[in-house]
């Protein structure tokens, strides 16, 4: 399940090209927001990732149950 959320080689290449475009450099640089805002931001990203994963997980569970 988690593996399916990770990008393939084409996606990695696309991202690398974007990152190495000097006009976009700033949007890939390390962020230093302070400890508390960083923890909150990470928590929000974690929740967002879980929400993205949830529908796929549900579809998989339903289809596996259906297959039985």
């Amino acid at each position: 399940m988690l593996t399916r959320l990770q990008p393939g080689q084409a996606e990695i290449e696309r991202l690398a090209r974007r990152e190495t475009d000097p006009r976009r450099a700033a949007s890939f640089e390390p962020l230093a927001l302070g400890p508390l805002p960083t923890v909150l931001a990470l928590a929000a990203l974690g929740i967002a990732a879980a929400l993205v994963a949830l529908p796929r997980l549900l579809v998989r569970l339903v289809s596996e149950r259906g297959a039985r």
Binding site: Q9, E19, P22, A25, F28, E29, P30, L31, G34, A53
Partner: protein, 543 residues
């Protein structure tokens, strides 16, 4: 007129063997395949990473490359730090130095400078008891370490707790400046020093072949590292030692010849000379003669060449290789904090872990911070879409702490190499750990992770690498000793038993392999072996 010495290979061992032989008054012909990428090197600007990232429209060529070597999704993490300008270090090796194995993934090189062309520049020395276990003479090695440290330039911190474990020569330069993350870790270590030392853990700045002061001598102009954080890509100032700098220095010497484009397959030790047989880049046979020959092609290739020279197929030579794993951690003291732009990219710190259950053996962990390998490598590791992975990586970069853990090695019948056919180059290899070794390695990693937690880090993952990923190989032509049963053995001078005129200057002769980085010891031993070869030539001349 034939040269005194043929030196086969231009890596750390070959370069230092040649240098020692020239210094001792001998004539040397170096035989090397010699792949190189000067254009790739020249394409990398001599500027800080942060400046390059914001200004250079051509940066993708060297920061990413046409085909990045590192692809985590193929399950192969060997040579993960090999960036595009250093990819030449592995060119042709799979094809021309074939190894067949389901269990061992060795890295080999046909580059000018060998694997030293992409080396991480860690330069710990081995302790007396480690040298004795390896079969190396302590006094001669101490002198050789001193020569190498002066020659290549090593920066180190004598006041760190790790010094007794990793430093010997006082010829070192001042230590490199630690980056922000390393300073925070050192501060945490200072606060909990007694407790973590009681657990067998010491932490210090990594000894590195990185100049903090320039070196100027005839044929050698090298500058101090500028802390540009571009060290995985280029080094216009030659601040990090590469064996080709020694080759460049030697090329100006009238008694040194460098012959490139030669792939050596075998040797013959005759009554008054050694003859080395190989092929050129077109596959045509070539042969060279010298009064003696020194193999410095790396533990795997030296075994291949020796086995083929004796026509021994199917018989097993021992194989030593340190197991390696990575601990990925977050230093909470750095979460949300800014980090200095000024830094080098190599290992910032070195931890030596000597737990009771290892009985005096050391576990070594090189500790890195993260930035110049690009956000994309990190962002695509998280189990989330890249649009979430990119900001996550940005938030974590300054706190990311990566420990590359090397585990002690134990010789066993389940770790071996053998030539597949007497007239071919294919080497079969097998590497398998027993349950005790696996458990001890897991315990090492757990112990280091526990100390990192006490230093304020959260360990995210332990990544096991394939056998061979450490690029630490040794023991394939072991020095003879009571009970040694390898078909091919060497003596204390590195001579192959049965081939009086052929010496081995790389780690193939070692009977043991400590977990610390081995390259400085390879170089020191190569100097020792070369000097012994020259002394033997002089004795022959007198006789």
């Amino acid at each position: 007129m034939i040269p005194d010495l043929l030196v086969v290979g231009s890596g750390p061992a070959g370069a230092q063997a040649a240098k020692a032989a020239i210094d001792a008054g001998a004539s040397v012909q170096m035989l090397d395949f010699g792949n190189d990428d000067p254009a790739g090197r020249a394409s990398v600007p001599d500027a800080p990473f942060s400046v390059v990232r914001r200004t250079d429209p051509e940066q993708a060529r060297y920061l990413w490359g046409a085909r990045d070597v590192w692809n985590p999704y193929e399950g192969n993490r060997v040579a993960g730090h090999l960036t595009a300008p250093r990819a030449f270090a592995l060119a042709d090796a799979d094809r021309l130095l074939p190894v067949a194995s389901d269990t061992f993934t060795p890295v080999r090189s046909l580059a000018l400078g060998g694997l030293g062309a992409a080396w991480g520049a860690g330069t710990p020395c081995f302790e007396d008891h480690e040298l004795v276990a390896m079969g190396l003479p302590v006094e001669a090695m101490a002198a050789a370490y001193d020569e190498v440290v002066r020659d290549i330039g090593v920066s180190a911190a004598w006041d760190d707790d790790t010094a007794p474990y990793v430093l010997r020569s006082r010829a070192t330069q001042p230590a490199a400046e630690p980056d922000t993350n390393a300073r925070a870790l050192l501060a945490a270590y200072a606060r909990r020093r007694d407790a973590v030392r009681a657990a067998g853990f010491t932490l210090g700045r990594a000894p590195l072949a990185l100049l903090t002061q320039p070196i100027r001598r005839p044929g050698c102009e090298r500058d101090a590292n500028p802390y540009f954080d571009m060290d995985f890509y280029g080094d216009a100032r030659r601040s990090i030692y590469r064996p080709r700098y020694t080759i460049d220095e030697l090329r100006a010497h009238p008694r040194f010849t460098y012959t490139e484009g030669v792939l050596v397959h075998a040797f013959a030790s005759e009554s008054d000379r050694a003859v080395v047989h190989g092929t050129d880049r077109r596959g045509e046979p070539v042969a060279f003669a010298g009064r003696r020959a020194i193999l410095a092609t790396g533990a795997l290739n030296s075994a291949r060449i020796a086995l083929r020279s004796f026509g021994i197929a199917g018989e097993r030579q021992p194989l030593l290789s340190n197991e390696m794993s990575f601990l990925i951690a977050l230093n909470l003291a750095m979460l949300g904090r800014t980090a200095d732009d000024r830094r080098h990219s190599l290992a910032q710190l070195l931890a030596i872990y000597a737990p009771d259950y290892r009985g005096g053996e050391r576990v070594a962990a090189s500790i890195y911070s993260y930035r110049s390998l690009l956000n994309v490598r990190l962002a695509t590791e998280f189990p989330m879409p890249t649009r979430l992975g990119v900001p996550t990586a940005r938030l974590l970069t300054n706190a990311l702490t990566i420990a590359g853990v090397h585990h002690p090695e134990r010789r066993s019948a389940r770790k071996w190499v053998a030539l597949a056919r007497a007239d071919g180059d294919l080497l079969n290899a097998h590497y398998e750990l027993d349950g005790d070794e696996r458990r001890a390695n897991a315990r090492d990693a757990a112990g280091i992770a526990a100390v990192l937690r006490r230093l304020g880090c959260v360990t995210l993952r332990r990544i096991a690498t394939p056998h061979g990923a450490s690029i630490h190989y040794a023991g394939t032509l072991p020095m003879r000793a009571p009970g040694e049963r390898a078909p091919l053995q060497t003596d204390e001078a590195g001579r192959i038993v049965g081939a009086e005129r052929v010496h081995v200057a790389d780690s193939a002769t070692w009977r043991a392999l400590p977990a610390k980085g081995l390259t400085l010891t390879i170089m020191a031993n190569a100097r020792r072996v070369a000097r012994l070869a020259v002394e033997t030539l002089r004795a022959e001349a007198r006789a």
